[in-house]
Structure formats: C-alpha cells, structure tokens
C-alpha cells in the first residue's frame, strides 16, 4: 500500500530536516536547528513543510522519524534508524551497488548497498566525534572563523599542514602548535578538512561507486573533492545531500 502524503523527519544531532512527499514527488523541504528539544524541532519542521503547501497535520498519512531524536517524535507513525533511511534515500537517487559515506553532526556512517539496494553492511565511527561535523565546529571556533566560512578558507590552503591525531582535543593541541608558529589560517582550515577525510578513509576500503551525503557535505564541497582525490575517482553527491535521511524516511513512510 502506498500513501499520498508522506513525511520523513530526520532529527539529527545538529539539524532537523523534513521532506514531504506527494506520491513519489518531493513537495517541500524544511530545516531547523535541533537544539535541546528534539520534539519541538520535529514539530517546527513539520509545521513549516505543511504551511508551505497549505496542508494540515491530519492530511499526512504516515510519518517516519529518524536520526538521534527519532524516539522523541510523538506524532510519528514509526521510527527507523538513520542508517536505513540514508540507504533508502541514496538508493532512490543512485539505484545500483554503492558505498555511502554520510558525515553528520555527531557521527559518520559508511553503508554498503548491494545492486538491489539491500544493505550488505554498515560502520559507524567510534564513540569519539573526531572527523564529524562537531569536529569542524570545534576547529572553526578555535580559528575564530564562522563555520559557514570554513570551506572557502580551507580552499585557500595548499595542504602543507598535517594533523596526526585521532582525537579532537589532541588535534586542537596540534593546531595550537601550528598557530604558535604563525601558520596562515587557510592552511590550518585545510588541515582540519584533511583530518576529516582521513577518519573517513580509515572506516572502510570504500570500494566501488561512492556517494556522499549529510550536512557537512552539503556545506563543505571541499570534503567531497578531497575524498575524490584520495580515492582517485569521481565521488557522487545527491542534489540535496543534507536531506537524504529525511527523504529516505519519507519514502519508507510512503511504502509501509
């Protein structure tokens, strides 16, 4: 059975995303900060997409919640993990065997899909948030640069600074040493981006066709370029990488 109006909500560590489907077609998207109240963020996102198309909450036939806050959405029909939702959302755009890299606010995922879209395996980063969006936020703060400006700043670097640490705190200590030597900020920003890429490359051999998703990818195209350079092949990105989980959730809502 399929629904007409289906809603996917991805309540992530940093941002909450909503995707509203009319049949198979995306009718609206919304994004807001998750903050400290996941339920409120989910409701705000839902209300925004509903308002944008002139619907009421009762018009939605099914809602699937995903992400860190998935269990906090009392109006959701069910909850599904972000791993399954990202896989579903990505496969809709790239219907073949793919390796998905999702870089989120607090965690990274590598998901291997078979030709049929069935999941072969998945990995998440360890407990530490090194290599995630939270790491870049920390580094932006240390460099006194707005997070939104970090990508352009890093583009100006040449890549002659290397961070060796696994740990965010140790990486920041390393950066302190480079700052003390008077290293230009663009080099430090680029070093942080390269550090994120190294954490990703450690998670899996990343065989086959690679697709990248998530908020970090959406706002930092340089990450994709660096991964592509490391793998020596093209890396694909869906049109709305930050909404992949919410899109997958909406598709699951529609199909169940």
């Amino acid at each position: 059975m399929t629904s007409r109006w289906s809603l996917g909500l991805d309540i992530g560590a940093s941002a909450t995303k909503a995707v509203l489907l009319d049949g198979e077609r995306v009718q609206a998207r919304a994004l807001c900060k998750s903050g400290a109240d996941f339920a409120a963020a989910a409701k705000a996102c839902r209300d925004e997409v509903l308002t944008s198309v002139g619907l009421a909450a009762c018009d939605i036939e099914r809602t699937v919640a995903t992400g860190y806050g998935r269990h906090r959405v009392d109006f959701a029909s069910t909850s599904v993990t972000e791993i399954t939702c990202h896989a579903r959302g990505c496969y809709a755009s790239f219907p073949r065997a793919i390796t998905i890299i999702d870089i989120g606010g607090q965690d990274n995922k590598v998901i291997l899909l078979e030709e049929t879209g069935a999941r072969r395996s998945f990995r998440m980063n360890r407990k530490c948030a090194a290599g995630t969006g939270a790491f870049l936020e920390e580094i932006a703060g240390q460099l006194g640069t707005p997070l939104a400006a970090l990508n352009e700043l890093a583009r100006q670097g040449t890549g002659n600074v290397e961070l060796g640490s696994f740990c965010t705190v140790f990486a920041k200590t390393e950066l302190l040493a480079w700052i003390a030597r008077g290293t230009p900020l663009p080099e430090l920003a680029r070093a942080a981006f390269r550090s994120v890429v190294k954490r990703i490359l450690e998670m899996d051999p990343l065989a086959g066709e690679v697709v990248m998703t998530g908020g970090v990818v959406a706002h930092n195209a340089l990450i994709v370029e660096l991964v592509s350079a490391a793998l020596r092949r093209e890396v694909f990105v869906p049109e709305y990488p930050q909404y992949t989980g919410a899109f997958g959730a909406a598709l699951i809502a529609r199909e169940t």
């Binding site: 919640a65 860190y68 599904v80 993990t81 972000e82 791993i83 998945f122 998440m124 407990k127």
Partner: protein
C-alpha cells in the same frame, strides 16, 4: 510514536535458587574470615579451582566480584581511584574497579548480603594467565598489600591444535603448585579428593553445556543475558554438588519451556550470537532493547567459556591442563573462526554482535579482521559495538542503540 514497546524480561524460576546459592557462597567465605578457617584461596575464573577446592580451601573469584562491580555500576565510581594510583584507564576494568573498590573500602557484596562488609581476605592468590596478563598484576597488588603469597600458571597463547607439549607444560606448572599450597593449607593433597572434585567439575561443565545448548531450539528458551546470570555456579561453584543440583533444575525448566513453546523473546524474529565480554552495567538495558526488537541473542563465546570437555577424574592434572588450554580465549584466530562457524550453524544464527571491549583486548575478537573474514566466507553479517565490560566511560548508549536497531533493520530486509 513508534510501536508500543512495553516488554518485560521473562525471568527463569531458577533465579530464586541461584540467589540462595550465591548468598551461601559469600556467607561461607565471610564466616571463614571471621573464624580464621577454612583457609581462603583467590582464584582466577579459569584458574585451578579444582585443585584448590580439593586441598580444602574455600575459593573466591575476584572476576566474579568485578562483574558485580560492573553490574551494580559501582565500578564507575571506583575505577578512577585505581587510575589515580597508576593503573591506566586502558588496562582491565575488572582490575581497576576492584582495586579502586578496595581502596575505597567498598563492595557490592554489602548491598546484596547483610552483614558482609568486605571482600574475603585471601591466604593465597592463584592465577592462570589464560584470561590475560592483567590478572597477574591484579593479584600481585593484593599479594603485596596484604603480604600474601601469589602463585600462578603461565598459559600458552594463539594455540591452534592443543598438543601433548602444551598439556605437559601446563600440567607441570599445576603439579608445581602443590608443595607451596600444601604448606599454606597445612595438609597434604588427597589424590582421591582431587579426582572427586574434578569429577564434579566435569559434571557441572557437562550440565552447563546442556543448558546453553537448549538455546538451539527455535524459539530459544534462553538468552545470552540470562546466561550471564545463570553461569555463576559454573564459575564460582564448579567442583561442588550444589552446582550440579542447580543446573539439573535449570535444565529441567528450560526443557519445559521448549516443550511448552515458551520463548525467552516473545515472537522471536532474529537470532544473534554475542562475541566478547558482557557490558555488565548495561545488561538490563540491552536485554530489554533486544526484546523490543524481537531479537534473541541466543549464544555467546563468553558463557561457553566455562565448558571444560577435557576434564577427566582419572587423569586430573593433565586433563585440567588440557581443559584450561582448550579455552577459546587462548586459541589462534583460525581456530576461533572455525569455532564461530560451528556456533553459527548450531544455533541457527542470523548475525554476530562483536563487543570491542576497550580494556579487554584478550576477550575482543574483532580487531584483526575476523568479522570481515566471516562475512566474506559465510555471508553472515555482523556489527561491532564499542564499549567495555565495566568502564561505562567507554560506552555510548545512543550510538549502540542506533547500531543495534540498524542491524536488526538490515536483518529484516533479508527475510
């Protein structure tokens, strides 16, 4: 919101008897301390308990106390105290939680058993490094603190086939323990009593194996989480009659569950195998999560570790040596992979959960590519959970929950 998730863990009736058995065990030790006799030997979990018991010692197992520290989450408060005196957060958290508890004059035994205020001081400490080298350091700390002798057996590691050379080496070390133990005990070893203890221990092992094998039934009457509780007599009371009586009753209860179609996990949909240590401070949470997900963790390397097929009362020293060397934990990776393959088939397992315990590398089997090799060879998927046996600073509730839920969703896709 998601489906209604009101589920309750189905307790085994034998749990009441188990509580009494363990109470008797700890009160007997406490009484011995107060009376000054019988003498007390501390022993590692797969140390030479049969020998110690046959020589008249009451046997206390610090790893059992470590598990209690973990399960009660007292470990979280005591580990930092051991860290502060130089025992790294990277070493065994049984060791750090136990030493920290000693330094704080605390024990979970006090809350469980009225009148017991401290762990029983040993007359001798006897280890076997088959669990890890940390047990040696752990016992050495107590030996020094209380001026008590520490004796031990150094095991082999990475063992493929267990050969006569291995057996002779360990049997020689076991026999060498006898003279100093006789001196401490003040009595000679009675060979007949040793044979009898080994016989009881073997019977206990056989019954425990039968208990665990009931989980091969579909649906399973038993979960890994049940087994972590009900394994206690196989660890601390092996070599005694009461352990046999207990497992006969437990086995009857499990067989009745199978006959009546009673599942440990209602509407069992998926069956998993757990490799590595339990996460003691999250046993209940994880047991409940798997119940909600209609997934039964049916078997584990951990609970199987107290099955000693080789014990033979007619050849006590050599058979103890073989039994303590046939342990999964000291074997080579090729052996371990074959063993897991056999478990997957025996218990009709859909997937594996590897616990990467931060402070227990010896009982962690996912750090050298084994999950990937097994998936490649057998097509059996797995997840690796980062955590620890006792140190919850190394564990993320939310990340673990997401991984487990996602894994079950993956298994459901395949059905």
């Amino acid at each position: 919101m998601a489906e209604a998730k009101a589920v309750e863990i189905k307790k085994l009736a034998a749990a009441g008897t188990l509580r009494k058995l363990l109470a008797d065990h700890f009160y007997e030790l406490d009484q011995a301390v107060k009376a000054g006799h019988p003498k007390i030997a501390w022993c590692t979990s797969v140390g030479p308990a049969e020998l110690l018991r046959a020589m008249g010692f009451l046997v206390y197992f610090p790893e059992n106390h470590g598990a209690m520290l973990g399960a009660s989450r007292m470990a979280t408060e005591t580990i930092p105290t051991a860290n502060a005196i130089g025992y790294s957060p990277e070493v065994c958290s049984y060791l750090t939680s136990d030493i920290g508890a000693c330094l704080q004059n605390r024990t979970p035994l006090s809350a469980a058993y009225e009148g017991i205020t401290a762990i029983p001081k040993p007359d001798v400490l006897v280890y076997n490094t088959n669990q890890c080298r940390d047990v040696q350091d752990w016992f050495a700390w107590y030996g020094q603190r209380w001026s008590r002798p520490v004796l031990g057996v150094e095991c082999y590691r990475g063992v493929g086939e267990v050969t006569d050379v291995h057996v002779a080496g360990i049997a020689g070390q076991l026999e060498a323990l006898v003279p100093p133990l006789e001196e401490i005990a003040g009595a000679r070893l009675d060979p007949e009593r040793l044979r009898e203890t080994v016989r009881l221990s073997r019977q206990c092992s056989d019954l425990w194996k039968e208990v665990l094998e009931t989980a091969a039934a579909v649906p399973s009457p038993l979960t890994f989480f049940d087994s972590t509780i009900h394994m206690a007599p196989a660890v601390v009371l092996r070599g005694t009659q009461v352990a046999l009586d207990y497992y006969r009753a437990l086995l009857a209860e499990l067989k009745a569950r199978i006959a009546d179609g009673v599942a440990a996990v209602a509407n069992e949909q998926h069956r998993l195998y757990w490799d590595g240590m339990p996460i003691w401070g999250r046993l209940r949470d994880l047991a409940t999560l798997f119940l909600e997900l209609r997934t039964c963790v049916v078997a584990s390397t951990y609970a199987n570790s107290w099955i000693f097929n080789a014990l033979d009362p007619d050849d006590p020293f050599r058979s103890m040596a073989r039994a303590y060397t046939e342990l999964f934990i000291v074997r080579s990776d090729p052996y371990k992979e074959k063993y897991l393959e056999q478990m997957i088939a025996t218990f009709a397992v859909d997937g594996l959960v590897f616990h990467d315990a931060k402070t227990c590398p010896n009982n962690t089997n996912c750090r050298h590519g084994m999950p990937q090799r097994l998936q490649e060879r057998l097509g059996v998927p797995s997840i690796t959970i980062s955590g620890d046996l006792n140190d919850l600073r190394c564990y993320s509730d939310e990340q673990t929950r997401t991984q487990i839920e996602a894994f079950v969703e993956q298994l459901a896709e395949k059905r």
